[in-house]
């Protein structure tokens, strides 16, 4: 187990390093000269050179990369052009909000999935099964931004129940979280329903029935534990999809998280900020994937045995 753990952590570190280097090199090569973009239009060559020295772009790309990596290791991701503040500070303000939103959305989606998916598998010809199919089909085809806009139209403009955007407390989380949850529920319901109906046919479930355990206990305790394994994988794999949805929802609801910051940075051609956000988020993803992998072996002892 320990050997496996070390190997996985090492692998994750290499992936993070690879992403960092790729993002840095690609942005540097394609972005053009930031000094020319930032300097006044009729600036003299001297002034532009001064800007270059400030940005550090007068050095070769290898030197820049080394300097950037050395800074990144110590938590310094450079300075934002637009805000004139360390990128790390900006990211650290926005990140907790994004994570809160993603967490709420995931929690909401999982609760709905577990109830709906289990019921649909348990009673294949019931209204629950139909509901699961309808939600899975429609939810998959409705874009996050559209459901978001519709909800703003209905709950904020018509009914005036919830804020339409911004960040003014917990109530600001409700609409974006629901919008994101609606987008990720379909895949989860599909997976849980099919794995649940497979698990419910297993012999140990029949044994549990024979022992006279209640159906609720069997479904939500015995069957769910095994049926949730594929679900866990999907959550781990689709975590990029989840954050993609969160970013879109942030823009629609003007929620000041990472996604909004990234879009502001994009429109301002603020490369250090885009770069910093990309690297930080990608690293989070790698870590989440690692954690899910480890959680996987916690739930299923067979995997633990295999890997040791």
């Amino acid at each position: 187990m320990r050997r496996y753990l070390i190997l996985r952590i090492l692998q994750s570190l290499i992936i993070v390093a690879a992403i960092t280097v790729t993002v840095f090199v690609v942005l540097r090569l394609s972005a053009g000269d930031p000094a020319r973009l930032r300097a006044p239009v009729f600036a003299s060559p001297d002034v532009i050179d001064q800007y270059r020295r400030d940005f550090g772009t007068d050095q070769t790309i290898l030197e820049q990369l080394t300097r950037f990596l050395w800074g990144a290791v110590r938590g310094d991701l450079g300075t934002s052009f637009r805000f004139q503040e360390p990128v790390m500070d900006l990211v650290l303000v926005a990140l907790p909000r994004t994570l809160a939103l993603a967490g709420c959305a995931l929690g909401l989606a999982l609760s709905v999935t577990i109830i709906l998916g289990s019921l649909a598998a348990l009673r294949p010809n019931s209204i629950w099964s139909v509901l699961a199919t309808v939600i899975a089909t429609i939810g998959q085809s409705a874009p996050v931004f559209w459901t978001g806009v519709l909800m703003v139209l209905f709950f904020s403009v018509r009914l005036d129940w919830l804020p339409s955007g911004g960040f003014t407390g917990v109530s600001s989380l409700v609409l974006p979280a629901v919008a994101v949850a609606l987008a990720i529920i379909p895949t989860q319901v599909r997976i849980l329903r099919s794995s649940m109906s497979a698990v419910l046919k297993e012999e140990y479930i029949r044994t549990a029935h024979a022992f006279g355990l209640s159906e609720r206990r069997i479904t939500f305790f015995y069957a769910l534990k095994n049926a949730s394994l594929p679900l866990l994988t999907v959550i781990g794999v689709d975590i990029g999809y989840l954050l993609g949805g969160v970013i879109v929802a942030e823009v629609v609801f003007a929620f000041p998280g990472i996604g909004e910051l990234a879009l502001v940075a994009l429109n301002a051609r603020d490369y250090p900020l885009v770069q910093g956000i990309t690297i930080v988020t990608a690293s989070i993803f790698v870590i989440v994937n690692l954690l899910i992998d480890l959680a996987y072996s916690r739930i299923d002892p067979r995997i633990r045995m295999e890997r040791t």
């Binding site: 692998q11 992936i15 690879a18 992403i19 993002v23 690609v26 942005l27 394609s30 972005a31 089909t137 429609i138 998959q140 085809s141 409705a142 874009p143 996050v144 931004f145 559209w146 806009v149 519709l150 703003v152 139209l153 403009v157 794999v237 689709d238 975590i239 990029g240 999809y241 954050l243 993609g244 970013i247 879109v248 823009v251 996604g259 990234a262 879009l263 940075a265 994009l266 429109n267 051609r269 490369y271 885009v274 770069q275 956000i277 990309t278 988020t281 990608a282 993803f285 790698v286 989440v288 994937n289």
Partner: protein, 296 residues
């Protein structure tokens, strides 16, 4: 009548399937999705003939008119006919999603096959590439890329391929790995068939049904993705009409002019919904056909 009598004479038999749809296991969802997609494609191709007005011609005398007999879908902020813009927007959406799907499936299949059948040393490399690609939030990838390159239709297609290939590769990899352990592949190896030959002639036929499902699902996802990017201002640039772009322009008037956001959204949803119906239907069909093959 005659047939049923013959049947009873031959002992118990599975119920004879009647009708074309039944025989080919085409369920109601698949049929409905197929008809809808066909209709949408035809309407899109015929957009120049169907559109009641020029999608680029502003008319400042009729700005943000609600849907009426004159303007079936209403008009936008500069008085352009919304129905015409949605019709022309469909062309961009379908082209980007269609080409993106083709690219993503081609690349994804190649990588998945390489992992499943190819030399052993490429395995971990392809696996890590898929992991990285799937872990990377696609919208952020789009932001990073469009911050470097000006968004255009080819850039959008590349983004579609980048966002989709790993999903396809994962499915193909699973099938290829499963098949490569089977006896018929081993037999082919023993008689000296090359890896390429095994991949193309022996394993690919098993991948094919899943590829059809993936094609429908990915096109649906890409229509949503393209409109999302356009809605965020990273996709098709104005004044070219695109479904997401129309909604972006309409977002500012959401309280007064609901049709500017509701109708293009419905177009997106209807299109991807019918594609999802096809995907689900094909999936179900493959399962039923397998069951039937197992019975006989």
């Amino acid at each position: 009548m005659n047939e049923t009598m013959l049947d009873t004479g031959c002992g118990p038999r599975p119920a004879r399937r009647t009708g074309y749809l039944r025989r080919h296991e085409i369920g109601p969802g698949l049929a409905l999705g197929g008809v809808l997609v066909l209709a949408i494609v035809l309407i899109t191709l015929a957009a120049p003939f169907l559109a009641p007005a020029d999608p680029y011609a502003p008319n400042l005398m009729s700005v943000r008119q609600p849907p009426s007999a004159e303007y079936l879908f209403g008009t936008d902020a500069v008085g352009r006919d919304l129905l015409s813009r949605i019709l022309y927007g469909a062309q961009i959406s379908l082209i980007v999603a269609g080409l993106g799907m083709l690219g993503s499936l081609t690349f994804g299949t190649l990588m998945g096959m390489l992992r499943g059948i190819g030399p052993r040393w490429v395995g971990p490399i392809v696996d890590r590439m898929i992991d990285i690609q799937l872990a990377f939030p696609y919208v952020l990838l789009a932001i990073a890329i469009t911050s470097a390159v000006r968004p255009s239709v080819p850039v959008l297609i590349v983004l579609m391929v980048l966002s989709g290939w790993a999903g396809a590769a994962r499915v193909v990899r699973a099938i290829a790995l499963q098949e490569s352990g089977k006896d018929y592949v081993k037999a082919a190896q023993i008689i000296g068939a090359s890896r390429l030959r095994i991949a193309v002639f022996h394993v690919f036929p098993s991948v094919w049904p899943s590829l059809a499902v993936l094609a429908a699902m990915q096109t649906a996802a890409m229509i949503v993705f393209e409109s999302t990017l356009s809605f965020l201002g990273m996709g098709v640039q104005p004044p070219t009409p695109s479904w997401g772009g129309i909604m972006l322009e309409g977002k500012n008037y959401i309280t007064t002019s609901w049709w500017l956001t509701l109708l293009p959204g419905l177009a997106i949803m209807l299109t991807s919904l019918s594609l999802v119906l096809i995907g689900d239907g094909l999936d179900l069909r493959a399962k039923r056909l397998r069951q039937r093959a197992a019975q006989t």
